[in-house]
Amino acid sequence: MDNLLPTSIRVLERGWLSSNNVVLHDDAGTGTVVDTGYVTHGAQTVALVRHALEGRRLTRLVNTHCHSDHIGGNAALARAFGCTIAIPVGEARNIAEWDTEALHLDGFGQHCERFAFDSTIAAGDTLTMGGLEWQALAAPGHDMDSLVLYAPEPRVLISADALWENGFGVLFPELYGEPGLAATRATLDRIAALDVATVIPGHGPVFSEVGAALERAYGRLDAFTRDPERVTRNAFRALLVFYLLDRQLARLDELAALLEQASFFAMLNARSYRLEPGVLAQKLVAELAEAGVLQVEADIVRPAH
């Protein structure tokens, strides 16, 4: 695609396990990165960010929200560059106390290296990054504390997992009894009211057809609203695939153990499927293999590439 972004912005796009990393050239000597990918990719993230900085020093790291695929490289980048770390204000307690349940780590079978933050960002704050003024906007839904970053001048939105080219991230708050569907609608409405030419999503390619993406997102939200059970089942499948992307392969009995022992999966199974973990693992793997997302050979399950 044509490069739609100002020259001070570089987007590092990999697969789904690591969120996109946005590297911004602040001036001739310094740069900022927004979101840092998954922990197991940390060394490559450091190398990619160094490459994208083109000789600059990374002085600041900003997170849109604190999920494992967005903060996993924080510790490695802070070690490599000595940069400061800024997180959304609503995540401050969870990160300071490293609450692995609230951070969706242990309960999901996910990992992250602990880090310390230096400052917080709240909705309404403005930041200068890449020589541009950015507004931090509240974007609850996928995460109640998530922020998106909007630069009115080049009309660029860093949309995190609030809006992708095709949908949005798992609606975790809804699963924990918070009004995630309503929050998502308000967030999409907020984005729809902005003048946006280019979106840098949390995952997937940079895109410019914002209206079409919003239409797809509203369609998905409408389907979830009509049948909230779909929120649960979508989350279950997405998190199982994420787990397999992390491990690259697992035996069926290992997946059954995950579904039984990881608190998130156990909670949603008790609420939605109510199946014995081994039976549930087989059912989900069969569905995901049918959809072309996973491959199964004997009892070994892998992501399909």
Partner: protein, 63 residues
């Protein structure tokens, strides 16, 4: 919507000996620039990856 799918397989670890990603066999520069490549250049990278994988398999006695 870009019709050329990313070759990333979520391994994302560089191999010091080859200078290539152990998952997708791309160089750091090819990974870093993927998001701004034209489709024609993406196709060229994908063709190169197929060659690199062949060479890798040929040189590996266990391949």
């Amino acid at each position: 919507m870009s019709p050329v799918a990313s070759p990333c397989v979520n391994v994302c670890v560089m191999d010091d000996a080859t200078g290539l990603c152990r998952g997708c066999s791309r160089t750091l520069d090819e990974i870093a620039r993927w998001s701004v490549m034209q489709d024609s250049e993406k196709q060229q990278v994908l063709a190169l990856l197929a060659q690199r994988k062949k060479i890798k398999m040929g040189s590996d006695p266990c391949g």
